[in-house]
C-alpha cells in the first residue's frame, strides 16, 4: 500500500471520528428536546367524564391542583388566568343545585381553532386543543368565539414559569389537559387531585377504556351540545 493511501485512510478515519464527536451531543440534545419520537395519533381521543353528583360544593381541589401544576397565580381578579373554575348551578325551575368544574371542553370542532387568524390555536391529533405561544399574536378572537369562556389572556408580565408549561405575556392560554403529563402516561392534575374521583380521564376512542365503558352505561351530556362541537369533556348529572 502506498504512503498516499495510508495517509488518505488516516485522514478519513480522523474526519469521521471528529464528525461523530461533533454531532453526537447535538443528536442527544435533539432527542431530549423532542422527548418521545412517536407522534400523537388520532387513534386516541383524550377526554373526561365529570360526575357532578360526586363533585362537592365548595371543594376547590381541582382548581388548586391545576394552578400548582401549571404555575398559575390562583388570583381571581378579572385579569387573572383561570384555566379551570368551579361553577355553581341552580336549576331555575326545580331549584336543584349542582357544582361542577368548567374548563376547555377540547371540542372536536373547536370554534377557537376556526377563528384563529394565524393557526396558533390548534387541535392535536389526539383531540387536545392547545395554543402555540410562539405564533399567537394576542388578538383574543378565540376568547370571543369560545362558547365556554375557557380562555384567559395574559395581562401582565410573568415570573417563575414552569419549564413544562410555557406561557407568555400578551398571548391567550387555556387548559392544556395537562398535555405534558398525558404525554408521559400520567393523568391531568385536576383528575388526580379530585378527592371524590369525580373526574374520569381516558381515551374516548378505545371502546374498552373505563371512560368509554362508563359513557355507554350512564347518561352523560355535553355542555351546549346544541352547538354540535362534540366536546371531549362530558358531564353526568346536568
Amino acid at each position: 500500500m502506498s504512503d498516499t493511501n495510508v495517509q488518505r485512510r488516516q485522514f478519513l478515519k480522523t474526519s469521521v471520528g471528529a464528525a461523530a464527536v461533533a454531532i453526537a451531543p447535538g443528536m442527544l440534545l435533539f432527542d431530549m428536546a423532542h422527548g418521545k419520537s412517536e407522534a400523537v395519533s388520532s387513534k386516541v381521543r383524550w377526554g373526561m367524564l365529570i360526575d357532578t353528583a360526586n363533585c362537592a360544593d365548595g371543594c376547590n381541589d381541582c382548581v388548586t391542583a391545576c394552578n400548582k401544576e401549571n404555575g398559575l397565580s390562583g388570583g381571581l381578579s378579572p385579569t387573572d388566568s383561570q384555566w379551570i373554575r368551579k361553577v355553581e348551578l341552580k336549576d331555575m325551575r326545580s331549584g336543584r343545585e349542582v357544582s361542577l368544574p368548567m374548563m376547555c371542553q377540547h371540542c372536536e370542532h373547536p370554534p377557537c381553532v376556526d377563528v384563529c387568524p394565524t393557526g396558533a390555536s390548534f387541535k392535536r391529533a389526539d383531540g387536545i386543543v392547545l395554543v402555540d405561544k410562539h405564533i399567537c399574536i394576542g388578538c383574543r378572537y378565540c376568547m370571543m368565539a369560545c362558547p365556554y369562556k375557557a380562555r384567559s389572556f395574559v395581562h401582565e408580565p410573568l415570573h417563575d414559569q414552569k419549564p413544562d408549561v410555557p406561557r407568555g405575556k400578551g398571548t391567550v392560554e387555556s387548559c392544556t389537559m395537562c398535555v405534558h403529563r398525558v404525554d408521559n402516561g400520567q393523568q391531568p392534575a385536576c383528575a388526580e387531585a379530585c378527592p371524590n374521583k369525580s373526574i374520569l380521564f381516558g381515551n374516548l376512542n378505545d371502546p374498552d377504556s373505563e371512560i368509554s365503558r362508563k359513557i355507554r352505561t350512564v347518561a352523560s351530556t355535553q355542555v351546549r351540545a346544541d352547538l354540535g362541537l362534540n366536546t371531549g369533556i362530558r358531564y353526568q348529572g346536568i
Binding site: 383561570q82 355553581e88 348551578l89 399567537c136 394576542g138 351546549r224
Partner: protein
C-alpha cells in the same frame, strides 16, 4: 403686504394643526409603549371584556373607510358628475381612515411585534385572516383607483378601477360584519343580519365623515358649496341614516322575538346601566333623530346644519359600536341554559368594564393618523372637488 398676512396665518395654522395631530399620535404611541411594557393590565379590558375602546375606534374607522367610498362609487360606477369630482377626496379619506383603524387594531394586539406572523401563518378558516387580505387589497385598489383618476393618461381606467373598488368594499364590510356574525355562541352576535347592517351603517358613517371633511376644506379655501349639490348630498345622508336606523331596529326586533334572546335585549335596551343610555340617547336621539331633524326640517338643512348632522351621526356611530361591542360582551354568556350560574370567572354576572385613558389615547392616536394623512395630502395634492356649474343628471 397686508393681503399676504391671511395666507401667512393660514400657513401657520396648518403647521399648528399638523403639530397638534402629531402630538395626539405621540400620545397614542406612548400608550402603546406602556401596554407593551406592562401588558394589557393598564387597560380596562379583562378576560370577560376582551375587546374594548380601541376596537370601537378601529371598527368605526374601518367601516367608515369603506362607506366613504360610496361617494366615489356613485361617481365612477353610476356616472353622477357631482360625485365623480369628489371621488379623489373619497379615495383619500378611505386610505386615511383605513390606515388609522388598522393601526389601532394592530397596536392593541397582545403581541403587536408579531403582526408579520399574520402574513406568514395563515389560517384559511379564520375570518380575521380573510380580513388581512381584504384590508391590504382594499388599500392597494384604492391607491390604483386614485392613480387612474389623478393621472390624466390613466383616466380611461378609472371606471374599471372604480368598479373593482365598489365590489371590494362590499366584500370588505361583509368581512367586518362576519367577524361578529361568526360568533355563534354569543347572544349579541351570531346573526346573518350583521354584515348587511354593517354595510348600511358604513354608508351613513362614511358620508358623514365625507361631509365634515368637505365642509372644512371648502371653508379653508373660502369657497361655498353649490346649494343644489348640498341639497342632494344632505338628502342622501338622510336616506342613509334612515337606512341604518332600519337595520339596527330589525336586528333588535328579531332578537326581541326569540324568547331566549329577550334577556339580552332587556339588558341592552332597558336595564343594562350605561348601555341603554348610550343606545337611546347616544345612538337613537343624538345619532339619528337629531341629524334627521337638522336635515329635513324646513328652514334647516343649510351648511352648518348638515355639518352638525354629520358630526352627530359620527358620534352616534361611536355610541352604537360601544353598546354593540362592549355591551355585547358584558352580558353573560349563556353556557348552561336553564340554570342560574355563578363562579369566580364571572359566570352569570354582568361583566364590569372601565375603559382606561390609555385605550382612549390609542384610539385618538388612530384618528390623528387619519387626520394627518388627510391634511397633508389635501395640501400637497389637488383633492379639492372642482364643480362645474351644477346641472342635474
Amino acid at each position: 403686504m397686508a393681503s399676504h398676512s391671511p395666507l401667512r396665518f393660514k400657513n401657520r395654522l396648518f403647521y399648528a394643526l399638523l403639530a397638534a395631530g402629531g402630538l395626539v399620535v405621540l400620545m397614542g404611541a406612548y400608550a402603546v409603549h406602556l401596554m407593551e411594557d406592562q401588558g394589557h393590565i393598564i387597560t380596562g379590558m379583562n378576560n370577560q371584556i376582551v375587546w374594548g375602546v380601541p376596537h370601537v375606534f378601529a371598527i368605526f374607522m374601518i367601516v367608515a373607510a369603506s362607506g366613504v367610498l360610496n361617494v366615489a362609487s356613485i361617481g365612477s360606477v353610476f356616472g353622477k358628475t357631482i360625485y365623480k369630482v369628489r371621488a379623489p377626496l373619497a379615495g383619500l379619506l378611505s386610505i386615511a381612515l383605513l390606515s388609522g383603524g388598522l393601526t389601532v387594531l394592530m397596536l392593541d394586539l397582545g403581541r403587536p411585534e408579531r403582526v408579520i406572523v399574520a402574513a406568514t401563518h395563515y389560517n384559511i378558516t379564520s375570518v380575521f385572516a380573510w380580513n388581512v387580505l381584504l384590508y391590504t387589497g382594499m388599500f392597494s385598489l384604492v391607491v390604483i383607483y386614485l392613480w387612474t383618476m389623478m393621472e390624466r393618461r390613466m383616466n380611461p381606467w378609472s371606471k374599471p378601477a372604480g368598479l373593482a373598488v365598489f365590489a371590494w368594499r362590499f366584500i370588505l364590510t361583509t368581512g367586518t360584519g362576519l367577524i361578529f356574525a361568526f360568533l355563534t355562541a354569543r347572544q349579541a352576535y351570531g346573526s346573518a343580519l350583521l354584515p348587511p347592517m354593517f354595510i348600511v351603517l358604513s354608508f351613513a358613517w362614511g358620508l358623514a365623515v365625507f361631509h365634515v371633511v368637505q365642509t372644512v376644506i371648502y371653508a379653508w379655501n373660502e369657497k361655498t358649496l353649490d346649494p343644489a349639490i348640498l341639497q342632494r348630498k344632505k338628502n342622501l345622508l338622510g336616506v342613509f341614516v334612515i337606512g341604518s336606523l332600519y337595520m339596527v331596529a330589525t336586528y333588535h326586533m328579531t332578537n326581541l322575538y326569540f324568547a331566549h334572546q329577550t334577556g339580552f335585549e332587556r339588558f341592552i335596551l332597558l336595564d343594562g346601566g350605561v348601555y341603554p343610555g348610550l343606545f337611546w340617547w347616544g345612538y337613537i336621539v343624538f345619532g339619528n333623530l337629531l341629524p334627521l331633524l337638522l336635515i329635513y326640517v324646513p328652514g334647516l338643512g343649510k351648511t352648518r346644519c348638515v355639518m352638525a348632522a354629520s358630526l352627530l351621526a359620527i358620534l352616534g356611530g361611536f355610541a352604537l359600536l360601544y353598546v354593540f361591542i362592549i355591551g355585547g360582551q358584558a352580558y353573560p354568556l349563556n353556557i348552561f341554559p336553564g340554570y342560574q350560574a355563578s363562579s369566580s370567572f364571572g359566570d352569570g354576572q354582568i361583566a364590569a368594564y372601565q375603559p382606561s385613558r390609555y385605550e382612549f389615547m390609542l384610539g385618538f392616536g388612530g384618528l390623528a393618523i387619519a387626520f394627518i394623512i388627510t391634511t397633508v395630502s389635501v395640501r400637497v395634492l389637488n383633492f379639492m372637488p372642482q364643480d362645474k356649474p351644477y346641472i342635474a343628471d
